[in-house]
């Protein structure tokens, strides 16, 4: 079985590694000179920044990505993070951190509610596991249950950090699937070596199984014969294949199919492509001599104007920064209407950072933004259209085809696992 993978991002390499282990003859084509897509390290001033992801797996060593890495035989050490903390104003009623703040544990979020609402939340935590809410956004659902501004801020910071969306953009079903996965797999973890630790391990598997990875080779066409994927064209050369897996998202994959996609026969698929919206975000990378967050988990900041959450991966792997330094990364959601105002969004993010770390010394290393053709997610979480295409033997993986309830790279892994299930069964 000959399988060609287009794009050496996480989804592409996961697929290639697992299939090469299963005996497929695998060839990966990557347009850029480097592999890893938005899931690898970028060396910058002695720090291991990332090309996208935050050097963190949302479900850590027990999650879908870690499991798929084990199945593929990729050797990566993933260290479970400390409990997520939430920064709240010292005095209830204050709207920001200026007059002081304290950090509470993620699981104590309801301690800031009234007694009545706390009881209600306790009941909901039990009842919603059996009867999952559906048919609205998370925010709309919260408002039908508990009328409390804090809860909306808390939901927005979590959705902003985890999905780069606001709570009124996330289907409530997706959040409850995420919560169920938190119970099932546990919370976040940090891979030793950062994102690239995982990419390197996957490449080792692919090469050990005789697979090939071509960088600097752009695929210009996906060949389709009789409704079935038959190969690709890269740099003017035709390569035959039994299976083609695209890591480019559905829209870019469809473009490569060209006239094979018929306006009439594939109308529903083409209509779906038009409805896909990528999510946008900004990452502010900080360098500091002293810890800013102080633990290896996530710090959520619901009372900031723009920053949703922060992690400090050097708490787990000090080698991600020069000796004695910390690497602290802040994420902020960018609303679709603000993508054109990135500079002012960044200004607000930087003002937030000052307010979150008022007495700390730090240096802003690099500010990275992601949207449109190089987004946070090619398909906003909860809107992923699955992995199938109109053609048999052509699958889409990656952050444009995540599985349900999978945050970011966990969703990528769930999507890949679903494709592998179809191919290897």
């Amino acid at each position: 079985m000959k399988t060609i993978v287009i794009g050496a991002g996480l989804g592409g390499l996961l697929s290639a590694a697992r299939l090469s282990k299963a005996g497929h003859e695998v060839e990966v084509f990557e347009r850029l000179p480097i592999t890893g897509g938005r899931f690898t390290n970028l060396s910058y001033k002695g720090f291991q920044l990332s090309s996208g992801a935050f050097h963190m797996l949302p479900n850590g060593p027990g999650g879908p990505l870690a499991q798929l890495l084990r199945e593929a035989g990729a050797s990566v050490d993933i260290v479970r993070s400390d409990m997520t903390t939430v920064r709240v104003p010292l005095k209830k009623g204050n709207s920001d951190y200026v007059k002081g703040f304290k950090d509470i544990s993620f699981s104590d979020f309801s301690s800031l509610l009234s007694y009545k609402d706390r009881m209600k939340i306790a009941l909901l935590i039990v009842s919603t596991r059996k009867n999952r809410p559906s048919g609205s956004t998370l925010q709309a659902w919260i408002k039908t249950q508990v009328n409390d501004e804090w809860l909306i801020k808390f939901a927005d910071s979590f959705c902003g950090w985890a999905l780069s969306l606001k709570s009124d953009e996330v289907p409530v079903e997706e959040i409850f699937e995420i919560i169920e996965n938190m119970y099932r797999f546990g919370g976040p973890g940090v891979p030793i070596g950062g994102c690239k630790g995982i990419i390197d391990a996957l490449e080792t598997v692919i090469l050990a199984n005789g697979g090939k990875i071509h960088t600097g080779q752009e695929v210009s066409k996906i060949l389709v014969e009789n409704g079935k994927a038959a190969g690709i064209v890269a740099e003017g050369k035709k390569h035959d294949a039994d299976l083609v897996i695209s890591n480019l998202g559905h829209a870019a994959t469809a473009l490569l199919c060209g006239e094979a996609l018929s306006k009439e026969a594939n109308a529903a698929y083409l209509k779906m492509l038009k409805s896909l919206r990528p999510s946008a975000g900004i990452k502010i990378c900080l360098a500091a001599d002293e810890p800013l967050v102080g633990h290896s988990g996530v710090l959520l900041t619901p009372y900031s104007r723009r920053i949703n959450g922060i992690n400090e991966v050097t708490q787990v792997d000090p080698k991600l920064a020069p000796p004695g330094k910390h690497l602290t990364m802040c994420h902020q959601y960018v609303a679709p209407e603000n993508v054109k105002n990135l500079e002012s969004e960044i200004e607000m993010g930087l003002a937030d950072v000052k307010e979150i770390f008022p007495d700390k010394r730090y240096e802003v290393l690099l500010i990275q933004s992601y949207h449109d053709e190089w987004p946070v997610n090619r398909a906003a979480s909860g809107t992923d259209p699955g992995n199938e295409t109109p053609f048999s033997g052509l699958y889409v993986v990656g952050d444009g085809a995540k599985g349900k309830g999978g945050i970011e790279v966990e969703g990528v892994a769930l999507g890949v696992a679903s494709v592998l299930g179809k191919i290897l069964s």
Partner: protein
């Protein structure tokens, strides 16, 4: 280096610039230290860096 409208500000070019000549804030911009070596061009994931004439 000069970027076109494709630039999203991901900073990938800045990390591969040997001269430390790229600033990023929503978009990438070259500083006076840029020597137009073209090193950054292939690393851009959105084909936003224009090839020098």
């Amino acid at each position: 280096m000069k970027t076109n409208d494709n630039c999203v500000g991901c900073g990938q070019c800045a990390s591969f610039c040997k001269m430390g000549a790229i600033e990023v804030r929503g978009k990438a911009r070259a500083t006076d230290a840029c020597v137009e070596c073209g090193m950054c061009i292939p690393y851009c994931p959105v084909k936003a860096i224009e090839v020098p004439a």
